[in-house]
């Protein structure tokens, strides 16, 4: 089953068929999610309307960690089983993960100015997210730094695995250190402490972000496979 889907041609057929449905599902969750988040959710008694930034910020931050985790798993699969699609997947995820991390940092900064009175503080969660952003950039640069793409792919995969130590540090940074960033309020052992009226739009947005991510990754992977084929054809043409 694992090997059945390793075939790039089969993957391309499958993903082409699945993509429109994923996109439709993403739009169908994103639109109500945005409506609830921006118009029809309660105003926070302390934060006022600024709380609405949270509906973008939190899903982006979750996606930033999720992307890195998927990228690290895909890198491990690519390194161990030489799975060609896993490598294409890791390559396609990296820029998306960097974008989500950037979005989380920017929205957090925009929220921090009115709430904390500052754009940026050097607390554990913010610093470790910034480090995650640099890890994504390092991964992307390392991949591009070699003349032989296969060598870049393997080196970058090792880097992705080494950098994975940062993910649990980010997740638990707010529990381990006493910081300005508030601790987790949704994913915790004793159930969410966030109000249900805010939880619904948040979950809608999180699902929408995830679907959007799946759609973008499939699209990017298909494009990447085509680019590889073009490269092979060019080589053949040059050799002939």
């Amino acid at each position: 089953m694992f090997h059945k889907f390793a075939n790039p041609a089969r993957f391309q057929r499958l993903s082409k068929a699945v993509e429109p449905w994923v996109l439709a599902a993403a739009v169908l969750t994103l639109l109500p999610g945005l409506y609830f988040a921006l118009f029809s959710s309660p105003v926070d008694y302390q934060q006022g309307h600024t709380v609405r930034i949270m509906y973008i910020h939190v899903p982006s931050a979750w996606m930033a960690l999720f992307c890195y985790t998927v990228m690290a798993v895909a890198s491990a699969v690519a390194l161990i089983w030489k799975h060609p699609l896993a490598d294409v997947g890791a390559k396609s995820i990296a820029p998306l993960g960097a974008a989500f991390t950037f979005l989380a940092l920017i929205t957090g900064s925009l929220w921090g100015k009115p709430m904390w009175g500052t754009w940026w503080v050097w607390d554990a969660r913010l610093t470790s997210m910034l480090v995650l952003f640099f890890l994504y950039l390092g991964y992307i640069s390392l991949r591009g730094a070699f003349d032989d793409p296969a060598r870049g792919a393997r080196s970058a995969a090792i880097l992705a695995l080494v950098g994975f130590v940062n993910v649990p540090i980010i997740k638990f940074s707010v529990d381990w250190w006493n910081t300005l960033h508030q601790p987790a309020s949704v994913i915790r052992m004793d159930g969410p402490t966030i109000h249900p009226d805010m939880l619904l739009p948040l979950i809608l947005m999180a699902v929408a972000f995830k679907l959007l991510f799946v759609w973008l990754v499939l699209l990017k992977m298909r494009a990447e496979l085509m680019a590889q084929r073009v490269r092979v054809l060019r080589h053949r043409q040059a050799a002939a």
Partner: protein, 221 residues
Amino acid sequence: MMGAVAVFRREMRLALRQGADSAMVVAFFVIAVVLFPLGIGPEPNTLAKIGPGVVWVAALMAAMLSMERLFQADYEDGSLELLTLAPMPLEITVLAKIAVHWLTTGLPLIVVSPLLAVMMNVPADGWPVLIASLALGTPILSLLGAVGAALVLGARRGGVLLSLLILPLAVPVLIFGAGAVDAALTGGNAKVNLLLEGAMLLGCLALCPWAAAAAVREAVA
């Protein structure tokens, strides 16, 4: 074991015969620290406050500077390939190279650090902790740097790339290293920071040789 000793002796001899490398790292370290009083102003209290952090950042930069040559020369003349083919585990070879790297670059940094602490007006109470934190921290930099140096073998602009890859990972070392000295000076608990640094050192010691060896194998494959 014999092989590890042989690699260690070879590396040591190479490093000592071209001692310029170690001297350059130390010179960079000193100059980088000296720039701060010139740039910020010689106000003693300000210097004392930023001193431990500046010494640590400069040590980090100096370590990065020397990192690239860890595998580069062996990679270029082909001896890295022979070391990979040798019957002893590549992880041991890598560990021996890292040990030599630390002895020839990390150790000199520790030796000159009290001098810089004096120049930065850091109170005498902070010196032992600064030395202890550097003693625990610089081996981590060598271990992490070895992973980076192996990953960028044969890459374009490897030196800059190496810093981009390793500096983010070295952030915790910097935080706890400089934090320990700060804690000692402000009456906090320096021991906690040093213990965390020690834990990181043990973790890196266990994991980094594997990652670096895997990267070397990819480079010579």
